[in-house]
């Protein structure tokens, strides 16, 4: 597929970046911001949620749709969570550390900080918040970042609580884990100033770099999430949630543009054909004797088959909008949203055990001609009815063009329907938390990681690649501590980046190494108590037994205490054993014997000391 002319299409995109903060405690309670495994839960409880009106007396459409699905939510609680996460105790005041980090981020994004921040309740009734709302406060407005294709405005900076993590679907609803709930999260929303997929990715990378420059953001999978808002001229604003990888952003934008272009094309064609959506009706009788497994199964369980005639839609239901996603898939998404397994439609039938005769009878029953399509849902009577109505509604918006909605990103870069766009009606004040008046003069602007990379090159002489690797890496603060403690910068960078990576590849459990293990080991080398060559073995020993300290690990690895005299003796022995070779080759034997000497000393001695001794010893004989 050739690339679109995005400017001609009127592409407008914006980003919402969600980043967890690495603070000591949660946003509204004193619990640690630690992630836990579901099997470590200490108790569980279950709840239901009911939508409520905003302070302006309005109900949010997204919340109402969510609550139509009556679900029971089960929550896992831990020894690291408290009654606040359980919605059984009012929230505390806004965490000071989180607010400071948010102010730092506002500064980095050139934003104006609000005079008074009001914590709001954003209604979310999918169970991911025990309260039924997410607490969120507007902290900064009106900022800007630079990209190669021009500046991108930053509309707002929000400080909010992270939701509970979804563990599993249960028979009755969903199981969530409370460890994540309440971790401070910043949400950064750009203006729709982005005009190409590449610029979207670059803007996201820039914001990611600024966030990491604070040194107080969480790292690892799921700690940063990108939402992308995309629309083209004549299309509609579509909010795509949960893009986990930065390098997916441009592809997501490309595919959403394609989807909207295709949907507009479908709409044009439907308009030309004077298409219309008929009334849903029960067509169970058509399938009374069906051999289709799906339909048979539903009917045997007391279900019904509902159909909606789509007049003038023939061929278009099967139209591909994105790779492997057709217009029919969109209809199916809406049916699934209301509990059905999916739909069948005439563009793909006969298939799935549905016979040509049944398709004919179906068309006849709903009065559909060859230019028309029919979509069907087979499920329990209530679900089938709800689902077919949702399908009819989505088909109707297909005639009009692109619907505004929230979509969910898939791993392939395509998207599926999630819910209607949430509106302002989902917000009302969190009266349990008094407003705060942030003081931006309280915080210091951190060094940008781009600046850090330059400093590592000019000050420490690291090459550009290693400097970037260290600065953007997880162990950057540790690297700084090591250098401050007198460890050679290139050596420290090599150990923290390359050595650890190699050890991990060799199956060493480097995750068990603490900052203190690493720093202590580096210091032993700096103090000449350990040879550089012995570092691998010490770290391996520590990973095997994390209770040891580095000194003890040196002992345990048998690397302790090789004096210069002992080195000389060992070197002399090697030279003596190879006297003939030394006589013939002189210094030419150096390389070969060096290896043998190091082997004899088993990495206990520093290579430079050994080479000096060896050079001296060979010199004596020639």
């Amino acid at each position: 597929m050739s690339e679109y002319d995005y400017e001609a299409l009127g592409l407008v995109a914006g980003l919402e970046i969600h980043q967890q903060l690495d603070t000591a405690t949660k946003l509204f309670c004193a619990c640690p911001t630690e992630r836990r495994e579901p099997e470590n839960a200490v108790r569980t409880f279950s709840r239901y949620l009911h939508p409520t009106t905003s302070e302006l007396g309005e109900l949010d459409e997204a919340a109402v749709e969510e609550s139509r699905v009556d679900r029971e939510f089960e929550y896992l609680a831990f020894d690291t969570t408290c009654l606040v996460e359980e919605d059984d105790e009012p929230p505390g005041r806004v965490d000071d550390e989180a607010l400071d980090v948010a102010l730092q981020i506002a500064d980095l994004l050139d934003m104006t900080v609000v005079d008074q921040a009001h914590v709001m309740r954003k209604i979310v009734v999918d169970g991911s918040n025990t309260s039924g709302f997410q607490r969120s406060a507007l902290i900064g407005q009106d900022g800007q970042i630079e990209t190669d294709a021009g500046p991108v405005g930053v509309e707002d900076l929000l400080l909010e609580e992270e939701s509970a993590g979804r563990v599993a679907e249960t028979d009755a609803g969903v199981r969530y884990s409370l460890d994540r709930l309440g971790i401070p999260l910043v949400e950064i929303g750009t203006r729709p100033d982005i005009g190409t997929p590449e610029q979207a990715r670059e803007a996201a990378e820039r914001i990611g770099m600024l966030l990491r420059s604070t040194g107080t953001v969480k790292r690892g999978l799921g700690t940063i999430r990108q939402d992308v808002n995309v629309s083209i001229a004549d299309g509609a604003r579509v909010e795509i949630k949960g893009v986990q990888a930065l390098d997916q952003i441009d592809e997501i934008v490309r595919l959403e543009v394609r989807r909207q272009v295709e949907l507009l094309d479908v709409a044009d064609e439907l308009a030309e054909r004077d298409a219309a959506v008929g009334s849903p009706q029960d067509v169970t009788d058509v399938f009374a004797d069906t051999d289709s497994g799906v339909i048979r199964g539903a009917l045997d369980d007391g279900g019904r088959v509902q159909a909606v005639p789509l007049y003038g839609f023939d061929g278009l239901v099967g139209r591909e909008l994105q790779p492997d996603r057709r217009f029919g898939t969109e209809l199916s998404d809406h049916a699934k949203r209301h509990g059905a397994g999916g739909i069948f439609h005439t563009d793909e039938l006969p298939a799935y055990g549905v016979t040509e005769a049944e398709v004919g009878a179906l068309r006849e029953t709903v009065d559909a001609g060859p230019e028309d399509a029919v979509a069907i849902v087979a499920d329990d009577p209530e679900t089938a009815e709800l689902a077919i109505d949702a399908v009819a509604e989505r088909a109707q918006t297909g005639i009009e063009g692109v619907p505004e909605e929230t979509r969910d990103a898939t791993d392939e870069g395509t998207t599926r329907y999630l819910r209607p766009l949430p509106g302002a009606a989902r917000m009302y004040p969190e009266t349990d938390v008094p407003p705060v008046e942030p003081d931006p003069s309280d915080v210091e602007r951190p060094e940008l990681l781009t600046e850090t990379v330059e400093r590592y090159q000019s000050e420490y002489g690291l090459d550009a690649g290693l400097a970037e690797q260290v600065a953007y890496g997880r162990r950057m603060p540790l690297f700084e501590r090591a250098v401050d403690a007198g460890v050679d910068a290139t050596f420290a960078a090599g150990v923290l980046e390359s050595t650890l990576t190699e050890l991990r590849r060799d199956g060493v459990a480097v995750d068990r190494l603490t900052d203190e293990h690493l720093l202590g080991t580096l210091r032993l080398v700096a103090d000449d108590d350990l040879a550089k060559e012995g570092v691998d073995e010490v770290l391996e020993t520590l990973a095997d037994d994390p209770d040891l300290d580095p000194e003890a690990a040196v002992e345990a690895a048998g690397l302790a205490g090789v004096s210069e005299d002992e080195v000389r003796d060992a070197v002399a022995d090697v030279v003596e054993r190879n006297a003939d070779q030394v006589e013939q080759e002189g210094m030419g034997a150096f390389s070969a014997l060096m290896g043998e000497c190091m082997g004899a000393l088993r990495g206990k001695a520093d290579g430079e000391v050994v080479s000096d001794a060896l050079r001296e010893e060979i010199g004596k004989r020639t």
Partner: protein, 414 residues
């Protein structure tokens, strides 16, 4: 400019358009932005332009104009819903930011659609106050209202009450009323304006209890942190034992008397009690309100009793088996000599008062103090108010069980 106006507020380089909201501080304007966020803007530094007046009626927002049309069904029992205010019937006051009671019983029906189809409802508002503002006078109004509702044919009564002092009111009604139908108190620990409010399940379970066959005053609240069942507590044996949890209410000295399962909506009882129709409706609403509850603490000045000189009754929450410091005993004897009824309960809450074990206790008994057995201090306070106004020998009344408040046997595991 007024709350509800659409405004444009310029402050420095930032311009915000939105709806002006009521502010809780004088120094800040609060504007609701199009995305729904509220933001506080320094009033002094802001330039405000009113774009459109009265876009929203902030004052009456949240009041639904459609009255519920509840149809009468002959096959269903009639339950009277009586509102006294409190969290179950409350919403947020956006002027003060506080949660206040603004709903009447009709609103509760609208707020809890799940109540439909379980009973025919009659709504009645006796008070609209937070329960910390409750007084014995309102207890009396409530008792009369419940009496009238039952007289008018209610098959059960649900009283919606703030949780802070629910146990006092429920206890008081236990003494003032003899009822042939269930009278069930309920409330909520999380306000009704949040999706996670416990009001829905508590209200549904209370109605189920009110249509059951147990004719006594009960308190119906979450049995655990989960939305799976409510516990039914005997009104005279229950206490709010937690500030914020959904399952804050606990029966002291026994297990809860019953339970309503939310899933299958069944009401079960673990101990016997008066059955529907077994008792004739009666009311004895008089109260002697000159009664105080006094908690003794180590080193407390006996002058605290000076304030109680003219009291008709005093409930002491003593230490352990029912003690106060020795230097209090003479003052207590004087009080009793002057005509005050003094009764002893324990701040242990669990267990029975016994003043025969230690010298201090024996001296208190000699001074005329009445042991309240295992009656809870709060219940004893309501009971003493009632006994002083309705019994010729209030002291004797404090030693016997009138409404299940004084358990004859100490069997807390039942």
């Amino acid at each position: 400019m007024n709350p509800g106006d659409r405004v444009r507020v310029e402050r420095g380089s930032v311009a915000n358009e939105g709806v002006l909201m009521p502010s809780t501080t004088a120094d800040h304007l609060v504007v609701k932005l199009p995305g729904g966020y509220n933001v506080g803007i320094d009033r002094e530094a802001a330039a405000v332009e009113v774009l459109e007046r009265d876009v929203y009626d902030v004052e009456s927002a949240g009041e639904d104009a459609d009255a519920s049309t509840v149809e009468f069904d002959d096959d269903l029992p009639t339950v009277s819903l009586i509102s006294t205010g409190g969290t179950i019937a409350s919403t947020v006051d956006y002027r003060t930011g506080a949660v206040t009671a603004q709903f009447d019983a009709e609103d509760v029906l609208r707020a809890v659609p799940d109540l439909a189809g379980r009973a025919n409802y009659r709504g009645r508002v006796v008070a609209n106050i937070l329960s910390e503002n409750m007084t014995p006078a309102v207890w009396q109004d409530l008792a009369r209202a419940v009496h009238e509702e039952i007289e008018a044919g209610a098959d059960g009564v649900v009283v919606m009450h703030g949780t802070d002092t629910m146990q006092y009111t429920a206890s008081a009604l236990s003494f003032m009323l003899e009822t042939p139908v269930p009278v069930v108190f309920t409330g909520s620990q999380r306000s009704a304006d949040r999706p996670s409010s416990d009001n829905v399940m508590n209200a549904v379970c209370a109605v189920e209890a009110a249509t059951s066959d147990r004719a006594e005053v009960l308190l119906c609240m979450h049995a655990s942190s989960s939305d799976d069942a409510c516990a039914l507590h005997r009104a005279t044996r229950v206490r709010k034992n937690h500030t914020s949890r959904r399952d804050a209410f606990e029966t002291v000295g026994a297990k809860p008397i019953g339970r309503v399962d939310y899933d299958d909506e069944t009401v079960t009882f673990r101990r016997d009690g008066p059955e529907r129709g077994a008792t004739d409706l009666a009311i004895a609403p008089d109260l002697e309100t000159s009664v105080e509850l006094l908690k003794f603490t180590p080193g407390m000045n006996p002058a605290a009793l000076d304030y109680l000189d003219d009291a008709a009754g005093v409930v002491i929450e003593g230490t352990g088996l029912g003690h106060v410091a020795t230097d209090w005993i003479d003052r207590i004897e004087e009080l009793i000599g002057a005509g005050t009824t003094v009764t002893m309960t324990s701040q242990c809450l669990e267990g029975r008062v016994c003043d025969r074990v230690y010298d201090t206790g024996r001296d208190l008994l000699d001074a005329g103090v009445v042991e309240a057995g295992d009656t809870l201090p709060e219940t004893a306070t309501a009971k003493l108010m009632w006994a002083l106004a309705n019994r010729s020998d209030p002291a004797a009344a404090m030693r016997e069980s009138i409404a299940g408040e004084l358990q004859p046997r100490s069997v807390p595991w039942t």
